[in-house]
């Protein structure tokens, strides 16, 4: 039988066997945690506590600033040591709480209250999701409750649970599906109710068939949740690709999935909703896959939000040749220069590469020979070859006007296949940011 899938895409080696058999293990608390006020797309949260105050694990310490924003919760009991600028994984410094963790505390007590989830209305569920500080845990970090309120002219009929986890090395979603199927299904039921949709589909790549089987066993009779195995191919987990694979619908350029009647949530997000909502808790920890040839003890770790990357690496142990630390997966993740950046809500993995890793020895960039590999790889069916040539001629505006630059979601498939080692995605990021700056400048001039 032909598996459901989308057009184009690439097949990188998945390296998942390093960690996909290892159960989720809890990581101890670091001496101090760094909790950024902005770990999500949208406005940063507003602090609710002052420097010097004591906080209980799970206590809200920052409130949402408006609709497209979420609150933050204390990941551990301790004292707010400072609120100051700290480096973030993305580069620029952002305001962060520094929480000195009470080392003597058991961290057993949790700040929480009980919801009767069966009696909650759609609005109440949506509000509770925002109160939990929930964001897309797959990496996008978009506030989850915003996706639960689609624009009024969009009629959403299907909830898609994204269990593809198409990035190589990462196995946190896989483990969550295996170990917390109840939480995941509970989360789906809640969001289904909040969205008012009849059907839900869980999309899982066919390299995780065991997860599909376990979820199937836990389905209840009137759930109306379908589990659909899709082809293992990168970037199957991109929401536009997954919607195409599962439903055959194509999200138009520049639109959200709700334009074609779909809302997509990562399985990790849904499992957290299923787990946290009944207790009124916030997101204070997440599962992070720590893997790669540079790690001694690869694994899936349950990590308190705000744990410094260095602490996590110390626990997993790095080889003496460790050379590059990537936050997220190797296809779209960022390599970090500073190890004091914290684990944030949307950080699904950490991959460490060794000095002698063949992937680190990228060859010299050569001229484009128009082999067309990138055109065959681009899941958005753009023309990366042409865009790349235009980028080297700094034709940034034409790239957008004639070649749909902004529809590139930077999956990296083109750079991955390019035999000339042209850093295409990097070119496109630069072009986009130049265009953004130009647009902002033009707007400023017009005013």
């Amino acid at each position: 039988m032909l598996l459901h899938t989308f057009n184009h895409g690439v097949h990188p080696p998945d390296f998942k066997s390093l960690t996909n058999g290892l159960p989720i293990r809890r990581l101890p608390f670091a001496a101090s945690l760094i909790v950024p006020l902005s770990q999500h797309a949208g406005k940063p949260s507003t602090p609710l506590v002052k420097v010097g105050e004591e906080v209980v694990r799970g206590q809200p310490i920052a409130a949402a600033d408006g609709f497209v924003s979420v609150p933050q919760h204390a990941p551990a009991s301790g004292r707010i040591k400072a609120i100051q600028l700290m480096p973030s994984a993305r580069g620029p410094k952002t305001d962060c709480f520094i929480v000195d963790v009470y080392q003597a505390a058991t961290q057993q007590e949790l700040y929480e209250y009980t919801h009767d989830i069966d009696k909650m209305s759609a609005e109440e569920i949506t509000q509770a999701v925002q109160d939990a500080g929930m964001v897309g845990l797959g990496g996008a970090a978009f506030p989850t409750h915003v996706k639960m309120k689609p624009p009024p002219d969009h009629h959403v009929d299907t909830l898609v649970a994204n269990g593809c986890e198409c990035e190589p090395y990462l196995t946190c979603d896989h483990r969550i599906m295996l170990e917390q199927p109840q939480n995941l299904l509970q989360g789906i039921r809640l969001i289904k109710k909040a969205l008012g949709v009849e059907q839900a589909i869980i999309g899982i790549e066919d390299n995780k068939k065991d997860a599909a089987e376990i979820l199937q066993q836990h389905l209840q009779e009137n759930d109306n949740i379908r589990i659909q195995v899709v082809k293992t191919k990168y970037p199957q987990g991109a929401e536009k690709m997954l919607i195409k694979s599962l439903l055959g619908r194509e999200v138009p350029p520049g639109s959200f999935p709700s334009a074609v009647g779909v809302s997509v949530f990562n399985v990790g997000t849904l499992a957290q909703i299923g787990e946290l909502l009944p207790h009124g808790r916030g997101v204070i920890e997440r599962v992070v896959t720590v893997s790669g040839p540079g790690v001694n003890k690869p694994g899936n770790y349950l990590v308190p939000v705000g744990t410094p990357v260095e602490f996590l690496l110390k626990h997993a142990g790095v080889t003496k040749d460790a050379h590059e630390v990537i936050l997220g997966g190797p296809m779209m993740g960022m390599s970090v220069s500073a190890l004091d950046v914290p684990v944030t809500k949307a950080m699904s993995g950490m991959v460490v590469l060794n000095k002698d890793d063949p992937d680190l020895k990228k060859g010299q960039t050569q001229p484009c020979i128009r082999c067309g590999y990138c055109v065959e790889a681009c899941p958005m069916q753009l023309n990366p070859s042409m865009l790349g040539m235009m980028a080297s001629a700094s034709m940034y505006e034409d790239m957008q006007r004639e070649y749909h630059l902004n529809d590139c979601f930077e999956c990296g498939s083109c750079s991955y296949v390019c035999p000339s080692n042209i850093p295409l995605v990097q070119y496109f990021r630069i072009a986009k940011s130049v265009n953004r700056d130009m647009a902002a400048k033009n707007q400023g001039d017009a005013q």
């Binding site: 023309n383 070649y403 991955y416 035999p419 000339s420």
Partner: protein, 346 residues
């Protein structure tokens, strides 16, 4: 721990391990059987021809890189392809000094002038061949039969023509080699001027006269298959060229099979196979868009047959490919694919 050196790179951090030199080297591998057969069929003259063009191409590439202060690009292997292909398109007894001129022009005019690998508009080997076709019209249409008994011990007299001299006629030499009934014509010329169709089996196996490397369709196709399977050649291009050639030749043959050649003969004769598999498919000079690839290859196939049927030349592959190359940026431009989410809407 905190003192370990971190490397900062932009994503993706994985890389498919195929590189340009690898692709080029594989094309060379696919060409080697064609070269070997050419030497087997036509003898040491072709061996000398292959060595002359390849070495001249390499020397010229090196020289031009030095002159333009660029690092030597010999290690990307693309120039070896140019050298081999050029020799394969020349008559077996082509004077070596003329072959060297063709090689020099191929690299200088066909490649370096545009900025080297990746920037050339046309296939460099064909640019070189087009130049000598115009410059030495007699030499480039002087053919020798395959499988001469003394081909491994005796060089075709015209091969060793003194530089800047006109090659000696080889008619007498051929007679002396006791070849019966060789008219010095390729299957295409035989057909065009004498209406004689060469049997398809001879064309497939390569027991006919012609350019050094164009005579055995089977070996060329095998090389193409190897590249297509390894995804180092776009299979749509040779298929499109052959389809285009069939589309034009079939109706004429159906109308008047006495006057027009059958499509099988059209496909197997002359340089069509060599051109379709190894030259039209040159990545640099062909379009990248899905529709563009089809338009480009169909155009080449159709134009080849039109030139053969109605032009003054017996062969049209070279000019058809060169014209297709020249048009490919335009074709790419007008065939930009609809992007994801745009289909169904105009």
């Amino acid at each position: 721990m905190s003192d370990f050196n971190t490397d900062l790179r932009s994503s993706p951090h994985l890389k498919q391990p195929v590189t340009v030199p690898q692709i080029m080297r594989n094309v060379v591998y696919a060409l080697l059987p064609v070269c070997a057969y050419a030497v087997y069929a036509f003898g040491i003259s072709v061996l000398l021809l292959l060595l002359t063009t390849t070495l001249t191409c390499m020397l010229a590439e090196n020289l031009f890189c030095r002159l333009s202060n660029r690092p030597s690009s010999l290690n990307d292997w693309s120039i070896v392809i140019t050298g081999l292909l050029l020799a394969l398109t020349l008559p077996p007894g082509f004077p070596l000094w003329m072959a060297a001129v063709a090689a020099f022009i191929a690299v200088g005019l066909g490649k370096t002038l545009f900025g080297g690998l990746g920037y050339n508009v046309m296939n460099p080997a064909l640019v070189g061949r087009a130049f000598v076709q115009a410059a030495f019209p007699a030499a480039i249409t002087t053919w020798t039969p395959p499988f001469l008994p003394d081909r491994f011990s005796e060089v075709i007299p015209s091969t060793l023509t003194t530089p800047f001299m006109i090659p000696v006629p080889i008619g007498d030499w051929l007679k002396q080699s006791e070849v019966d009934a060789f008219t010095g014509a390729t299957p295409l010329a035989l057909y065009k001027f004498e209406q004689i169709t060469t049997p398809a089996m001879d064309l497939l196996s390569g027991s006919v006269a012609g350019s050094a490397g164009e005579t055995s369709a089977i070996i060329i196709l095998a090389g193409g298959l190897y590249l297509a399977v390894r995804k180092m050649m776009d299979w749509r291009i040779p298929v499109g060229v052959m389809l285009g050639a069939t589309l034009v030749s079939l109706p004429f043959w159906l109308m008047d099979s006495a006057l027009y050649p059958d499509p099988v003969f059209v496909l197997l004769s002359g340089g069509l196979m060599l051109g379709a598999v190894f030259m039209a498919s040159d990545m640099v000079a062909s379009p990248v868009t899905p529709w563009g690839v089809w338009i480009y290859s169909l155009f080449i196939g159709m134009l080849t047959v039109i030139i053969r049927l109605f032009g003054g030349l017996t062969e049209g592959v070279m000019y058809a490919i060169l014209l297709g190359n020249a048009l490919s940026p335009l074709i790419s431009g007008i065939t930009q694919p609809k992007i994801f989410g745009q289909r169904g809407k105009s």
